[in-house]
């Protein structure tokens, strides 16, 4: 009887340990090359990665709903982080799901995304060096406008820094990547360099996150951050 209790306790302990480790591993798993990669596979559906929060720039009305959902088309595994419901109707709102626990200055940010829906806007992208919900850099692809761009958002106002026209259909997965070194930034779509820009509006390290505009509902997977020394 005692042995059975010990066995059950042991199994329970192992389960707790593995689930805890798994949760940590999927949220901020530092890879061998120093990358932090989020595949969302070990998160429960309906949740967010630990330390991530939902915010908005120029918010009017309720915040959008971001959550981990199952997606059979996901490029890795079965789960993705998705903006599933906009909850507002203001076209000037930038929907954010971001974290300050990953501080990014120089390096590389990569994400796979799929534009699911949106009448006013579609698509999305990544943000970096975010000071708060009103101040950050953003790179995004919009399949409605067929353009891939880098902007900065300062005090809630957006200014375009670089633009590339490229036509990619919606409802498919694409890879968006930005590389940052000091004030030099480059944007890649599906591995092809399409944007180059030099800007020093936000020279300090800040948070990272995901971005969509207005009513754009988009799914994201394989979010990866690689930090590099600025002197390199």
């Amino acid at each position: 009887m005692k042995a059975k209790k010990l066995f059950i306790s042991g199994v329970f302990f192992l389960l707790c340990f593995w689930s805890g480790f798994g949760l940590y591993a999927q949220t901020k798993a530092p890879q061998k090359d120093g990358a932090i990669r989020l595949t969302f596979e070990n998160l429960k559906t309906g949740t967010l990665p630990e330390g991530w929060k939902i915010e908005a720039t120029n918010q009017k009305g309720p915040l959008a709903t971001w959550q981990v959902i199952e997606d059979t088309t996901a490029p890795s595994g079965k789960k993705v982080l998705s903006l599933t419901k906009v909850n507002h109707s203001f076209g000037g709102t930038f929907n954010l799901c971001r974290t300050d626990q990953i501080r990014f200055l120089n390096g590389e940010i990569k994400v796979k995304f799929k534009a699911n829906s949106g009448i006013e806007d579609q698509g999305g992208g990544v943000i970096w060096r975010a000071k708060d919900s009103d101040n950050y850099y953003i790179s995004r692809y919009n399949p409605l406008e067929n353009n891939f761009r880098i902007y900065y958002v300062k005090d809630g106002a957006r200014r375009m820094l670089a633009s590339a026209r490229i036509k990619l259909p919606a409802h498919k997965w694409y890879e968006l990547k930005i590389t940052v070194q000091g004030d030099q930034m480059k944007g890649y779509l599906n591995g092809k360099e399409l944007l180059q820009v030099k800007d020093h509006t936000f020279p300090e390290a800040g948070g990272v996150g995901l971005w969509t505009k207005a009513d754009a509902e988009t799914s994201f997977d394989d979010f990866e951050v690689v930090k590099r020394n600025s002197l390199r």
């Binding site: 406008e145 353009n147 820094l161 670089a162 633009s163 490229i166 930034m185 399409l194 180059q196």
Partner: protein, 472 residues
């Protein structure tokens, strides 16, 4: 020579106008700058919108050339832009309504990543705003320049500046007039005070300046002037009284000398008679001399330039010497003056002035005490004061007279005093000589029981000085 208006009102108004002009100029400068920045931001925004449209019009052919879908943009022919290849070849140019051309792309512009804005001045002073930068269209890198004329922006700024320029003198004129009337109103009490002050002379020194608002600056000034007038009035009254008293006192011995002389000349008398007459004349002359000396002494005191020669000295021997000096007068009345009290006190004071004070008090004590009485000079020191008290056994001073006896020429019994050779200045001199050294004189007296005159010097003022402090 710089222009300096003599009128305070005009000066204040000018300063006010100058300050306001400066403020308005700064305000105008800031306003124009803000308008310029706002209009430029609008221009940049318009260029951005132009780019959004243009980006969708550009088509890149397989051979690398560029085509534009003009029919998709109803305003296409109103837009001014250039498309260059990254190796510096102009691929497309649209220059509506102008023959102006932009300078070639500089290396600095080529090196620009993303989009930038700059203002350019072309020939004939044409100003344009340019948005330029590298973009990627369907996989091909292109350099794009979009141009907007800045003439509308500058016209608006000029119109605004002209508006400011016209509004400025009007605002300054209104402010100047307002300032002038305000200053006039504010300075009106000064005019009233000046008018009143002009009318005040020695005949109406009792009049005062009008105090319109006692709590403001001008009210304070008027109050200060009124206080000054009060002091002047008191001083003037005192001076008049003093002159009158002095003339009266001088006339008595002079009349006496004349009378004695006239009587002496009327009859032929022997030598001893004339010796008596001359003796009487000399006696009156001595009295007159004493009076003139006292007047000169007080005149010097009134000049307020006198500085006492303070030094430390042993008080008891000093009092003994002073008593010795006046002893012959006391002996004439068979009176005894004797010192009493602490013998080891050192005092810091002016011995010359203190002797003058003490002699006057002793002289009074001798004069107004009956023959054969004792006069005591007592020296004492407590925690706060060092005192010298002269006590006589005279008739005493009525309480109601005690405050007045230190006034110049004041006598309780004028006839008796003059008969005794008093000028009425002794106590006034004593009081001044003590006060100038930081001390005081008080009197304790009762009719029929003698008087005590107390000279007091505070110990505190000299506490740390050598030879001063409580004796053991």
């Amino acid at each position: 020579m710089p222009f300096t208006p003599k009128n305070v009102r005009t000066r204040l108004t000018l300063w006010y106008v100058l300050a306001l002009t400066f403020i308005l100029l700064v305000y105008a400068g800031i306003s124009i700058t803000l308008v310029y920045l706002d209009l430029r931001r609008n221009l940049d925004h318009a260029l951005n919108e132009d780019y959004e449209i243009l980006e969708n019009l550009i088509r890149v052919t397989p051979d690398g050339s560029v085509l534009l879908d003009e029919e998709d943009d109803p305003y296409f022919h109103e837009r001014w832009f250039e498309i260059w290849s990254t190796d510096g070849k102009k691929l497309y140019e649209s220059r509506p309504f102008t023959s102006k051309s932009l300078p070639a792309i500089s290396e600095k512009e080529k090196a620009t990543g993303g989009f930038s804005f700059r203002s350019l001045k072309l020939e004939n002073d044409v100003r344009v705003r340019v948005m330029y930068g590298k973009t990627n269209i369907e996989g091909k890198w292109l350099f794009i320049r979009l141009i907007h004329f800045e003439d509308r922006m500058w016209n608006e700024i000029r119109a605004f500046a002209w508006l400011m320029l016209f509004a400025l003198p009007v605002a300054i004129l209104i402010a100047g007039l307002g300032g002038y009337f305000l200053t006039k109103k504010l300075l009106a009490p000064v005019d009233q005070m000046a008018e009143k002050a002009r009318k005040i002379s020695e005949e109406n020194l009792q009049e005062r300046l009008p105090v319109i608002n006692p709590s403001d600056e001008l009210g304070n000034l008027a109050k200060a002037f009124n206080e000054l007038l009060e002091r002047i009035e008191k001083s003037f009254t005192r001076l008049k009284q003093f002159t009158s008293d002095a003339a009266h006192e001088l006339r008595t011995p002079l009349t006496a000398i004349r009378s004695i002389g006239e009587v002496g000349l009327q009859e032929n008398k022997d030598v001893s008679y004339y010796r008596n007459v001359i003796g009487s004349i000399l006696e009156e002359n001595r009295r007159l001399t004493r009076l003139v000396d006292s007047l000169l002494f007080l005149s010097g005191a009134d000049s307020e330039k006198f500085k006492p020669n303070i030094r430390a000295f042993q008080l008891y021997p000093f009092v003994e010497q002073t008593i010795e000096f006046i002893q012959p007068l006391a002996e004439e009345k068979n009176q005894t003056i004797h010192p009493e009290g602490q013998k080891d006190i050192t005092l810091r004071a002016d011995p010359g002035l203190l002797k003058e004070a003490l002699l006057n008090l002793l002289d009074n004590a001798i004069k107004y005490s009956p023959a054969g009485t004792d006069i005591a000079v007592r020296i004492a020191r407590n925690k706060k004061y060092t005192t010298i008290t002269v006590t006589d056994q005279g008739a005493g001073i009525p309480e109601e007279e005690q405050e007045k006896i230190f006034e110049r020429f004041y006598r309780i019994d004028k006839g008796r005093s003059r008969e005794m050779g008093g000028s009425g200045l002794g106590l006034a001199i004593a009081l001044w000589t003590v006060q100038i050294q930081g001390g005081t004189i008080s009197v304790k007296s009762k009719s029929g029981f003698g008087s005590s005159f107390i000279i007091s010097f505070p110990n505190s003022g000299n506490k740390n000085k050598r030879g001063f402090g409580n004796t053991s």
